[in-house]
Amino acid sequence: MADPGRRSPKVLLALSALLTFWCLAVCAVPASAAPLDRARFTADLCGDAAGQVRGAESLVQAGGDLAADDLAYAGRLLGALAERRLACPAEGAVLFDRPGAPEGRDALTGAVRPVAETRAPVLGLRQRAAVETARGTVALLTGPDPASRAAGLSVLERRIATVPAALLDRARDAETDASLKGTIAGLAQAAALSSPDPARRRAAIAAVAASPSGTAAARLEALKGDPAYASDPAFRAALDAGLAQVGRAVAVGNALAILYNGLSFASILFMAAAGLAIIFGLMGVINLAQGEFIMLGAYATYGVQEAFRRFAPAQLDLYLFAAIPVAFLAVALVGIAVEALILRHLYKRPLMSLLATWAVSLFLVNLVRVGVGTQNLQFTMPAYVSGGIPLYADFVITWNRLFAIGFAAATLALTLLILRRTPLGLDIRAVTQNRDMAACLGLPTRRIDRLAFGLGSGLAGLAGVALCPIYSVNPGMGSGFIVDSFMVVVLGGVGSLAGTLVAALGVGGANVLIEPISGAVAAKVIVLVGIILFLQRRPEGLFAVRRRR
C-alpha cells in the first residue's frame, strides 16, 4: 500500500470493509465511552478567560458521552480550579491538596512533584458560572449519593437552556433514586419544551402529553403564551392536541379520584354504622356513645403502638395489625360493661337509653380528655399506609385509604360470617326477628343482647383502628361521625347489614360527588334532605327487616 497508484480494487474493498467494521464497532460501543482530550481540557482550564469558559462548556456539551474516569478527572481539575488549588507552570498543570502547598500532583500523570510557581489562575464571574455548571455536570453524573447528585442537578437547573438533552437523559437512566429520577425527567422535559429546535419541542410536547397530570396541563398551558404558538402552525397544532389529550386524561383521573375518595369515605361510614345497625336492630337502642367507642378504638391502637415501641421496637411496623384484636376486645368489653350496668335496665324505654348513652359518651370523652389530654395523638405510619402509587393522571391510590377500604371489606366479611354462620349469629337474627318467640324457644335473649352489644361496640373499635392512618385522633373525634353514621343506619333500614352497606356507599358517594360542585356544607344539606324525602316513600329504610313486635 506504499504506492497509492497501485491500489487494487481488492484492497479498496478490504479498506471499505475495515471502515464499515470500524464504524459498526464505534457505533456499538456505548456512547459514554468516548474519550476526553485530557491534555486539551487541561490546557483550556489553565489558559485565559475564554479558554476556561470553552473548556467548561465543552465538558457540559460532551457530558452525556464521556467515560466515568474522564468525568472524574475533569471533576478533580474543575474542583481544584474553583478552590484555587491549581497551578499552571510551563511543565504541566499541578493540583495541590491545599492552596499554597510546596508540592502537588501532576494533573495528567498523578506523579508528585515540587512546584515553584503556585499562583492559581483567577476565575472571573462569567468563568466561575461556567465552571460551576461543569462541576454540576460531573456531580450529577458521578456523585456517590443522591444528595450530591441532587446538588449537581440544582446547579444545572439554573442554566438549563445550555444543558444538552443527552446529558439529562444519561443522568436519568443511571439514576437509582426514584424521586431524583422523577426530578431529572421533569427537568429534561422542561428543557426540551423550551428548546430552540422546533421538532424537538413538538416531540417534548407529545412526551409531556403522554404522561398527563395537573402539572403537565399547567406546563403546556404556559406554552400558549409562547411566540411560536402564534407564528408556527405545526407547533400550535401539536400544543392544542397535547392540551386536549392531557385535559381528557386529567378529567378521567379526577373522576377516578372522586370515586376512590367516595369509596374510602363510605368504608369509614360503614364501619361506624355497622355496629350501630346491629345494636339498633336487635335492641332498639340508639347508642349515642358509638362515636366515643370509635375514639376508644383509636386510643387502644395508640396504646398498642406505645407498647410495641417499648417492648418490640423492631416490629413497630406491625402494630396496626396487632391493634386489631386488642381494639376489638377492649371496646367490646367496654360495651358489655355499659350494657350490663346501664342499658339492661332501659330496654323498655328506648328514648331514655338514648339519653343514657349520651351520658356515657360525655363521660368517656371527658375521661380521655382528663386522663390522656386533648392533643392529637402522634402515630408512626408504617410504610404500608403511607404514600401511594400514581395510577392514572393525578389519580393516586393512597395506601392509607386503601387500608381503610380493605379493612372495611374484611370487617363486612367477618360480620357476615358471624351473623350467618355461627350459633351466636343465628341467635342474634332470631331475637332481632321475634324476641318473644325466641325467648319462648329457650334462647337466653338478655345474654344474646349483651354479646351483640359487645359485637357492635367491637366493630366501632375496629373502625377506630382503620381511622388512625387517615384522621386525627383526639378525644372529640367521635362526634364527627355520629350524625353521618346514624343517617346511614336510618337510610339502610335497621338491623340490615346489606342496607347499611348500600346506604354507606350511597351517602359516602353522594357526599363526595356533590362536594366539588357545591361545597361540603351543601353536600351534607342535600344528602339530609334526600334522606328525609326518601323516608317519605320508605319509612323503614332501604332494606327493612321483616319482623314482629
Partner: protein, 366 residues
C-alpha cells in the same frame, strides 16, 4: 301556697282555676310572678338578675320540649334549631335597630366588606315585625319538617335521629360566613334595646322580668292546653297512636299542631335569651346542646310541665356555678346525674317527692 293562689285567682273563672289545679305549676307560676315583682321592687346585683333571666329562658325552652316529648312521646333532639331561630332573628333585630339609630353597621358586615345590611334584613329594625318573623320562621320550619316526618309516620328514635341531623346541618350552614348572619363568629355587640343602652341595670332587670313573666304565661298556657280535650288526645297519642288513629282522630294533624306550637315556644325562649347574653353564634346549634335540653326535661321530670322547669333551672344553675368553680368536674357530674335519673328515678327528680322504695328496674311499677 297553691290553695292561696287558687283562692286569689278564683275570680278568673273556670279554665284558669283548672289550669292551676296542678299545685306544682301553680306554685311555679306564683314564684315567677313573685320573683318578677321582687326584681322590680328591689333588684339584686345585675349579675344575679341576668342569671335569673337566663334560667327563665331555659325553662321556657324545657317546657317547649316537654310539651312534645312528655305529652306526645316525640323526642326532638333538634329543639336547639328553633331556639336558635328565635335568637338569630332577635339578634338581627337588635343589630338592625342599632344600625338604624347609630348609623354604624354591625362588625360582621364590615368584616365581609359589605356596604349595607343584606336585603333580607329589610324591616327588621321594627320590633313587632321581627317578633312575628321569628315565630313565623320557627313555625314554618317546624311545619315543613314535621309534615314530612309525621305524614310518613317517622316515629320514636327515628324521629330523634333525623331531628338531630337537622340541627347539625343547620349548624354547618350557619358556620359559613357568606350567609349574612355572622358566620362562625355569630352576632354580638348589640348597642341598643328599644333605644335604651344594652347592659344598663334597667334593661337587664327589664329583660329578666320579661323572661319570668313569659315563663309564667307559657306555663299557664301549656297547662291549660294539656288539661283540655286536646291534652287528653295528646296523651292518648303518646300511649297508643295506632288506637287513636283507628278511633278516627287525625294524629298527624294533632302532632303537627303541637310540634309547631312547641317550636314557636322554643323560638320565644331564644328571643328572650339572646339580649340577655349579648351574643348568638352557631354553637347554639351544636347537637350536644339540643340533647342537653332533653336532659333538663328528663332530670326534672318528663311529662310534667313543672318538672321541665325544675330540671332546666337545676341543671343550668348547677352549670353556672360548677363550670366556673370546677370546670373539669362538670361533665362528669352531668353525666352522673343523667345516669342516676334514668336508672333510679325514671320520672326525674320529681320522683324524690313521692319516693317509692322499689324503682322500676327492680320490678316496681312505673
Amino acid at each position: 301556697m297553691s290553695g292561696a293562689v287558687q283562692t286569689a285567682l278564683a275570680p278568673l273563672g273556670g279554665p284558669a282555676r283548672r289550669a292551676l289545679r296542678d299545685p306544682l305549676v301553680a306554685g311555679l307560676v306564683g314564684l315567677c310572678l313573685a320573683a318578677a315583682a321582687a326584681l322590680l321592687v328591689a333588684p339584686p346585683a345585675p349579675f344575679l338578675v341576668n342569671v335569673l333571666g337566663q334560667l327563665a329562658a331555659f325553662a321556657i325552652l324545657a317546657v317547649a320540649l316537654d310539651l312534645v316529648w312528655g305529652y306526645l312521646g316525640i323526642l326532638s333532639l333538634g329543639h336547639g334549631l328553633f331556639f336558635a331561630i328565635g335568637g338569630y332573628v332577635c339578634a338581627m333585630h337588635l343589630l338592625a335597630h342599632g344600625a338604624a339609630v347609630t348609623g354604624v353597621l354591625p362588625d360582621f358586615v364590615q368584616f365581609m366588606g359589605w356596604k349595607s345590611l343584606p336585603a333580607y334584613w329589610f324591616g327588621l329594625d321594627h320590633a313587632p315585625y321581627a317578633f312575628v318573623l321569628a315565630l313565623a320562621v320557627a313555625g314554618l320550619v317546624a311545619f315543613v319538617f314535621g309534615l314530612a316526618s309525621f305524614r310518613s309516620r317517622v316515629n320514636g328514635v327515628y324521629f330523634s335521629i333525623i331531628s338531630q341531623a337537622l340541627v347539625y346541618v343547620a349548624m354547618l350552614l350557619m358556620y359559613r360566613n357568606d350567609t349574612g348572619l355572622g358566620g362562625n363568629n355569630g352576632m354580638t355587640g348589640f348597642p341598643l334595646l328599644f333605644g335604651w343602652p344594652m347592659g344598663s341595670p334597667g334593661v337587664v332587670t327589664g329583660l329578666a322580668v320579661a323572661a319570668l313573666v313569659t315563663l309564667a304565661a307559657v306555663l299557664t298556657g301549656t297547662r291549660l292546653l294539656v288539661g283540655s280535650a286536646i291534652g287528653r288526645r295528646m296523651l292518648a297519642c303518646r300511649d297508643d297512636e295506632t288506637r287513636l288513629r283507628t278511633l278516627g282522630y287525625s294524629t298527624t294533624r294533632l302532632k303537627l299542631g303541637i310540634w309547631c306550637l312547641s317550636a314557636m315556644i322554643a323560638a320565644l325562649a331564644g328571643i328572650l335569651y339572646v339580649p340577655q347574653v349579648g351574643i348568638i353564634n352557631p354553637r347554639v346549634l351544636a347537637p350536644d346542646l339540643s340533647i342537653e335540653i332533653a336532659v333538663w326535661v328528663a332530670i326534672g321530670g318528663l311529662g310534667r310541665l313543672g318538672g321541665a322547669v325544675i330540671g332546666a333551672v337545676l341543671v343550668n344553675g348547677l352549670k353556672f356555678w360548677l363550670s366556673a368553680a370546677m370546670p373539669d368536674a362538670w361533665p362528669f357530674i352531668l353525666s352522673g346525674l343523667v345516669l342516676l335519673v334514668v336508672l333510679v328515678l325514671p320520672n326525674g327528680l320529681l320522683d324524690l317527692v313521692s319516693w317509692r322504695p322499689r324503682p322500676t328496674w327492680l320490678g316496681g311499677q312505673r
